[in-house]
């Protein structure tokens, strides 16, 4: 399979995975709103049969519905940002922002793996010019690998660092790295690294995985 076919397939898989996970989150929110609305309906039916309606109770239920609407709005905003990743093939992005978005979008997938994620933000902005969609795809694939490499502590750390001409994304506390790194990177990560002009290294002693990205992808094309 050609490099471009691999990237297309990987991109579609990534889009599908995130869409399915987000739709699951939204279904949960709709289910909560449905039950809360049903509960109000139950109270009204009971009040029609003589039980007094408790306004404080109704107020709490409505507040909760409002919270769920805000939660859904946050999720929809994130999926919208994600969908717009493909608007520009290359643009300036802030790496902490990109990491946050990938983590928020995959929060349910991460929770299923029972691993805690610690995002260590630096105050400095880490701006680079790159391909936003391919970068998000690569981050997810590395995160997926890192979740498998978490080991018994079940905690991994992620951070972005700006260097002079490059930027780095570091996944650390990968206690089980030695046991899972035999088949990594696969052809998917390799094709994405290639298109992003990026490098991937693993350090088994430091228990970390490092993606090194050029500060400006255009300067290398």
């Amino acid at each position: 399979m050609s490099k471009y076919n691999i990237i297309s397939e990987s991109g579609l898989e990534f889009f599908g995975l995130i869409s399915a996970s987000v739709s699951h989150d939204i279904k949960n929110i709709l289910a909560i709103i449905n039950e809360k609305a049903g509960l109000i309906d139950d109270f009204i039916l009971m009040s029609e049969k003589g039980s007094p309606l408790n306004p404080e109770r109704i107020k709490i239920i409505i507040e909760n519905i409002t919270k769920q609407v805000q939660r859904a709005n946050g999720i929809v905003n994130n999926i919208n940002k994600f969908a717009h990743s493909v608007d520009n093939y290359v643009k300036i992005v802030e790496l902490n922002e990109i990491l946050n978005l990938v983590i928020k979008l995959s929060s349910r997938l991460i929770a299923m793996r029972n691993v805690n994620l610690e995002i260590r933000h630096t105050e400095e902005m880490v701006n680079i010019r790159t391909s936003p969609f391919f970068l998000k795809n690569l981050i997810w694939l590395c995160l997926d690998f890192a979740l498998n490499a978490a080991g018994s502590s079940k905690t991994i750390g992620i951070n972005a660092i700006r260097l002079e001409k490059t930027a780095k994304i570091q996944f650390n506390q990968l206690d089980n790295l030695t046991n899972v790194s035999m088949t990594f990177p696969t052809e998917k990560e390799t094709a994405l690294l290639n298109i992003l002009h990026a490098d991937l290294t693993t350090d088994q002693q430091a228990k970390e995985l490092l993606i090194t990205l050029p500060g400006d992808i255009n300067s290398l094309v």
Binding site: K27, L30, I32, I33, G38, A111, N114
Partner: protein
Amino acid sequence: MIKGDRMRILLVDDEEELVSTLAERLFFRNIKADWVTSPDDALELAKNNRYDLALLDVKMPKINGFELKKKLTEQHPNMKFIFLTGHGLDKDYPIDISEAEVFNYLAKPCNIDNLIKTITNVLSSNKG
């Protein structure tokens, strides 16, 4: 279930607001429902309580609804099950699921009357 007893069911879903509200609505319909948000808590609660049926979310952290069903069945061989699922993807279903068991699935959000109808059907059948 002994005739005249209030039906007892166990609700398991990691969305607390969902299971707690559902439990309250079921109570109004003469069903006693206990709720928990993790499979571990479900197993703990089932150790000391008798439930006619468990309503399980398919996708939960740590272990999924099908694995939890197996563990609960080991404790209570006669317990019946209904699964709640966020979507109807094929890969959400175990390969060996029977046609009868497919009817024990409810998609979120579900209508409470449908839920009660499904509970009644499952409890009156020998499957599930």
